[in-house]
Symmetry: C2
Amino acid sequence: MRPKLTLKQIAKELDVSISTVSKSLRDSPEIGEDTRQKVQAFAKLYNYKPNNIALSLKNRKTKTIGVVIPEIVHHFFTTVISGIEHVANEKGYSVIVCLSDNSFDKEVLNMEMLANGSIDGFILSVAKETMQKGDYHHLIEVVNQGMPLVLFDRSVEEVPSDKVIIDDVKGAKKAVQCLIDKGARNIGIISTVDYISVGKLRTQGYTEALVENGFEVNEKNILKIENMDQVEQEISAFAESGDFDALFAVNEHFAAAAVRAVRDKGQKVPDDVQVIGFTDGELSKRFIPSLTTISQHGSRMGEEAARLLIEKLEKSPNEEESYKTIIVETGLIERESTK
Amino acid sequence: MRPKLTLKQIAKELDVSISTVSKSLRDSPEIGEDTRQKVQAFAKLYNYKPNNIALSLKNRKTKTIGVVIPEIVHHFFTTVISGIEHVANEKGYSVIVCLSDNSFDKEVLNMEMLANGSIDGFILSVAKETMQKGDYHHLIEVVNQGMPLVLFDRSVEEVPSDKVIIDDVKGAKKAVQCLIDKGARNIGIISTVDYISVGKLRTQGYTEALVENGFEVNEKNILKIENMDQVEQEISAFAESGDFDALFAVNEHFAAAAVRAVRDKGQKVPDDVQVIGFTDGELSKRFIPSLTTISQHGSRMGEEAARLLIEKLEKSPNEEESYKTIIVETGLIERESTK
DNA sequence: GTGAAAGCGCTAACAT
DNA sequence: ATGTTAGCGCTTTCAC
């Protein structure tokens, strides 16, 4: 077992001072040609690589980005991470991923841990529980300490920071408009409870689209799923409860469950009931029928978030503060679950 | 903007020495009761937290685990990460995730980056390209430097390290046996090319199961998918090519595609053709028909890997070296795609 | 009971 | 052209 080489050891080995070694390796003009050659050759031979931790301590920056997300077993977040990774690596940054499990406490804990020098800045999507509590101290605290923060997807107005979001209202309108254009007249929405901002906004988009098309909004056509353990049952009951010719689901699981509920009811998708989802994942693509969906472009969001963060990290500290919000356009992907 | 507090500042503020502050905070008995109280109160008030980087440098350990995986947009890896995260956090470790994108070069680069002091040990699943090349220098190098490494899923014999794998052969046999028990007589397998060890092993399991049951093995019933861009077409052609009454797919995408191919051919799942997959993801669960599958217990694998790594990290360095291989049992989850 | 000093690995201003 | 020194934030040994 051969432990990692340090400058000190090289210096001893070559019988020069540590700083000579350091300068040689960084091609400082102060150093004589021959010494430089010698040192570089030695370093190369033994595959010297500077210690990141020491560099971090010295430079007061770690070149790593902390990502905190509610859950990873979720295709959307996964694509976001992938987007973040790509631009981060491109610019020489590492990514450290923490999961909040949608818990407020874990979110706080993770952030504290990372904020103590481990990272240069945050990219974060707020935990469900945090939104519920409406307590954003930890986020505000972090920006007060001068650590850049980019919020994405589940973002909150109360925190002064860069943001990358989609236009949920517009996306939902797009979905509903699509259904109306395809002849739907009695459209149900399967959404989440209102404290999840995306659920709320998508419901709003649904309502607006109906109104703009001169349709009535019927509260009975709006399902807000509370308990994630009973998604199937709730959706089944909902489908039974009304005479829908189209259903708009705010995520792909709900959409899949909706298709199943329609089937169970003895109706056909898309002939009797059209279904449209939100978030374009594997499930939507592979499902039979494959699901028409509003795509969120997760990896685009990740890329934008990373770019925004790195931009902030690398600008001179005395530039004036300003926060951007990037709205990533949603797309409509038509597949088999609509006519 | 209020930057992070350091020991130095506390010392100045309280007009004591840095070491007094340090000791007070760590409840050293050397320090007088009153000073200790004073320091601790101050630290608490201003929410002092020690700098991780400085601690890492001092202790020569980072309390973080590096995870390198081929891709994240893949439910299995996602569940593994989630498993790793949970036990890591429990034991006070952070997790830093890097993607190799199945590229040899990116795998090497990522590992070099992480190995330079950023982490205490690796959990890794080998990139496709790396397996293809059969070049494991970077892995061996890392263990030679004394950095613990745990390989999971796509593991390689050539590297002396702990391993967490599933018994692919046995899992595949379980799948095929299930099909045979349910009356299948002409079973096709949809696999990957042989340099992907899991593809090879699962194909082997398939063959063994057939032989053990007194069936003939027909090369024409074995599809090895080469080009991931043409999965659908290849599977369609394969389904058309034979008169199968059951198909065993080595992952869930292939299984979903198989169902579709069967449908396109005008046959029914499971009545005419039964289908069974490998890896239990969202897709299998939500698909219609939902897919019978061999489950890999990704999060169990992640947990085991993390436990193995942390165990090694925390044992005294002079204990004798020994490598464990943990085989996580596969399970059979019966759903609608089999009779 | 408190503080000074060394050291983790590295860089850079400042000697020589 | 090379070396010495200080310092990033922290712990710990050793003096006082």
